[in-house]
Amino acid sequence: MFSLEHITNEVQNWLSSNFSSGWVLVWECLIVIVLTTGLFAVLGLVLVLMERKVAAQIQIRLGPNRVGPRGMLQTVADTLKLVMKEGLTPDLADKFLFNLAPFLVMMVAMLLLAPIAFARGFQLWDINIGVLYISAVSSLSVIGILMAGWASNNKYSLLGAMRSGAQIVSYELSAGMAVLSIVVLSGSLQITEIIQSQQNGWWLFKGHIPAVIAFVVFIIAVTAETNRAPFDLAEAESELTAGFHTEYSGMKFALFFLAEYINIFIVCAIGATLFLGGWMPLHIGSWGGFNHLMDYIPSSIWFLGKTFLLIFLIMWFRWTFPRLRVDQLLALEWKYLLPISMLNLLLVTLIAILGWHF
């Protein structure tokens, strides 16, 4: 049967039978580089197109429909246009930091791919502190953003970067609490073990109401962490032009834009892994036939389906809620979400200890 685990094993066997162990590692590294850069490029193209199509559907219009069949090649054309543009560096900018920032943002986005399980047995590194690794590395992205805003020598950039910094660090707390509640329930930080613990049901359903509260808090927090509307103060077009990447143009701008969409994908993938069971198929109690039917759908399809469902949810938010003011934004986090998620964590702990979850 077709599965990514099978293919990777085949490739591994073929390599190790034809090359010595050192060369196998080199070939594997090359394959990983090609696959991850390919994934980034494809995800960028798909997510930007999806954003525009979802926006169009919600506003009852057609969206991009000229380039290619049903506008499918629109983002390819946009990328080509961006490649043709000159990447400017302002005269007064801090040139080293200005040029370093897009690399840093991309590096963080790329590093976050390591512990994500894309399918059964298809994972780069099954690190035993996976969840901690994710929250540690994802908080590095704020450094790239602050660097870009500060080095640009532009008032809009600096203000956007400051807002973005305050917002990202604030919402990281409640996102961390929501993630912790799943760690309490499953008793492990390892991604594969968290997925295995959801074999008989996803945590969203098994963990009663506290898990649902944690999920809602998580979705709100990651929407803010990725600077998406209604929390897109950092790049509020009507006040700050484009926020921290006002001065960037050409491919450097494209890298920031791409990293933003990749981050949406990654946080949704993490949400899908923790709350919706990652690549685990939907199983309902003792419905043998139903469970068996669900097992026929490949695990990668399950994972991508759940991830894109969450991405769709976040895109839906953008066209539903108006943008918050900066004081409202911080009040929402510090006065509501943080106390709620703290209490919720205690509630989850109580449920986990008493064994009330299924």
Binding site: I33, M84, P90, S152, S157, G187, M251, L338, I353
Partner: protein
């Protein structure tokens, strides 16, 4: 793949970004213009340097974040073992969070959460 994957991913990110930027360089015919390097400010000449004072609120929230982020790091090892230890761990963390909550209330009382 193990820990090597981190190095590989960093290399992949650098290759991807550098490749993109270099590809952009290939096609561009740069032009020179005295105003090209000016900071963007809606078309008017720049008034002053942006590297000046900014709102103190950002600093206060960063400080508050530091307190709670350290708390969160302490909670990670606790969260892994809490199921095995049982109700004692819950009571202990209740004290921990209570003390932090008092600190949070103090910050609130002092007006650290107010955006002026």
């Amino acid at each position: 793949m193990g820990a090597v994957s981190l190095i590989v991913l960093v290399i992949a990110a650098v290759v991807f970004s550098a490749g993109g930027i270099l590809a952009g360089r290939l096609f561009v015919k740069g032009s020179t213009n005295p105003q090209k390097g000016q900071p963007y400010e809606c078309g008017i000449p720049t008034a002053s340097s942006p590297w000046q004072q900014f709102h103190v609120g950002y600093y206060l929230f960063a400080l508050l974040f530091l307190v709670f982020d350290v708390e969160l790091v302490f909670l990670y090892p606790w969260a892994v073992v809490v199921k095995e230890i049982g109700i004692i761990a819950l009571v202990e963390i209740l004290f921990f969070i209570f003390i932090l909550f008092i600190g949070f209330l103090y910050a609130h009382k002092q007006g650290a959460l107010k955006w002026i």
